[in-house]
């Protein structure tokens, strides 16, 4: 199986590559449309700031490629946020795959949220054999509110979407590659999804 991690210069992608190596899969890093279009699975990572990440995507024209992908795509952290309609961070227009606007946590809570929080109301095959209230590692200041595409929720001052799904597009706010055995299980589930033609 060909796993391609979109490499657009945004943050730490080694960890994701290593997480796949730990389950015996060599993932490829690429910023080339052809390679990404050909992949069986696409990982859309991202750490850092939304508007500069979006600029990097645009500079390689990947912003128009990603929404057209037909194979399962997994956005992680900022990757998930960029798949939304917009982000309050740097007033960024997103890829518009998920019909929700990303906003900042209020200062009623410490920002960023850093640490292990629970995911509940699990509604995707991504979470097969994952227990309700399982812990995942999160680091973020912005969040996607609850919406029709919410596939898991977490609570930090309020309930928000810690996972989203629409058709072949999956997004997780948490870092499965850093979330111990349960996180690894989610990556394995992503590899096992049927490809819809």
């Amino acid at each position: 199986m060909n796993i391609t991690i979109i490499d657009y210069g945004a943050g730490n992608i080694q960890s994701i590559k290593f997480a796949f190596e730990r389950i015996g899969i060599t993932a490829v890093l690429s910023d080339e449309a052809e390679t990404i279009l050909r992949a069986d699975r696409v990982i859309f990572p991202g750490v850092g700031e939304a508007s500069s990440a979006m600029q990097k995507l645009k500079s390689t024209k990947l912003d128009s490629i990603i929404p057209t992908l037909k194979q399962p795509v997994l956005g992680i952290c900022l990757g998930m946020q960029l798949m939304c309609k917009s982000s309050e961070e740097g007033n960024t227009k997103g890829l518009g795959i998920f019909d929700v606007d990303v906003v900042k946590f209020s200062n009623q809570v410490k920002v960023p949220q850093i640490g292990w929080n629970q995911i509940t109301d699990l509604k995707s095959r991504l979470f097969q054999d994952i227990a309700e209230n399982e812990y995942m590692y999160l680091v973020h200041s912005f969040y996607a509110p609850l919406c029709n595409e919410t596939a898991a929720l977490s609570n930090y001052g309020l309930d928000y979407s810690s996972a989203l799904q629409k058709d072949n597009f999956y997004g997780v706010q948490f870092h499965p590659e850093k979330s111990s055995k349960a996180g690894q299980r989610i990556l394995e589930n992503f590899l096992k999804l049927d490809v819809k033609s």
């Binding site: 730490n12 080694q14 680091v139 111990s180």
Partner: protein, 251 residues
């Protein structure tokens, strides 16, 4: 619910763990990767690697270590010790570190915090602050607490938050090594006055001390070294105890 984090700290010299480590289960207790894997399996929420080597090759040795840890460990980790430039941070993050911790270099050049958080994001910039009380006032100290400054702990902490730190690792030099508990009053003041997570460090001796750091000190995470390395406290037992005391933990 977001849980309180328990963080073992590994001191590293020339790519090896220092301080005696009492783990019979390990083939090589000086190997940071083996120790890190064991901690991850036993319930640690994060790890901190603090490099204290002073050799010419230290940067390369540390980068190699970070790469090996990232390959083998499935929980987040922070790397600190002598980090003083954007290039240092870039290398360590590219090797797979989740966060870096900066200390003396940002006291000398506070603008570095702004540059680092702008380039890499606040979420991966931990500012470590070592402080102790001088005539009843908390003063920032440098070089592992050896060199005093006239900088007030709380003013400095607020400044680093404004400059873009994502987290503060506060070590009380008055408590460090005493096994008498964390500096809960100062911790509570930091945690109340700031709006970023505070990691408590210095003084862990028993499980009650961790309970106090979370309930009295209002810390978001607690870091310790020797109580874990010498197996005086098992992380899972500690978390069971914290849970009994109503503190949310990942179990």
């Amino acid at each position: 619910m977001l849980t309180k984090r328990i963080i073992p700290c590994l001191d590293i010299k020339n790519g090896r763990t220092v301080k005696g480590v009492n783990f019979v289960a390990l083939r090589d207790a000086g190997n940071p990767v083996e120790l890190a894997k064991l901690y991850a399996e036993n319930g640690a929420d994060e790890l901190v690697f603090l490099d204290i080597s002073a050799t010419e090759e230290r940067r390369k040795t540390l980068a190699d270590l970070v790469l090996r840890v990232a390959k083998n460990v499935n929980i987040p980790f922070t790397v600190g010790g002598g980090i003083s430039s954007i290039e240092d941070v870039d290398t360590l993050l590219k090797c797979g570190a989740d966060k870096v911790s900066v200390n003396s270099s940002v006291v000398k050049n506070p603008q570095l915090i702004n540059s680092l958080s702008a380039k890499f994001g606040s979420q991966c910039i931990v500012v470590a602050i070592d402080a102790k009380q001088v005539n009843g006032k908390w003063k920032v100290h440098l070089v592992g607490g050896k060199v005093p400054t006239d900088i007030d702990l709380f003013e400095w902490a607020k400044e680093v938050e404004l400059r873009g730190a994502g987290e503060i690792l506060f070590t009380s030099m008055d408590n460090d090594g005493t096994k008498d508990g964390f500096a809960n009053e100062a911790l509570a003041k930091l945690s109340t006055e700031l709006n970023i997570p505070i990691i408590a460090s210095g003084g862990a001796g028993n499980t009650q001390h961790f309970t106090d750091a979370f309930l009295k000190g209002k810390a978001d995470a607690a870091l310790a070294a020797s109580v874990f390395h010498f197996k005086e406290i098992e992380i899972n037992d500690l978390k069971e105890e914290l849970k009994k005391n109503g503190i949310p933990v990942r179990l």
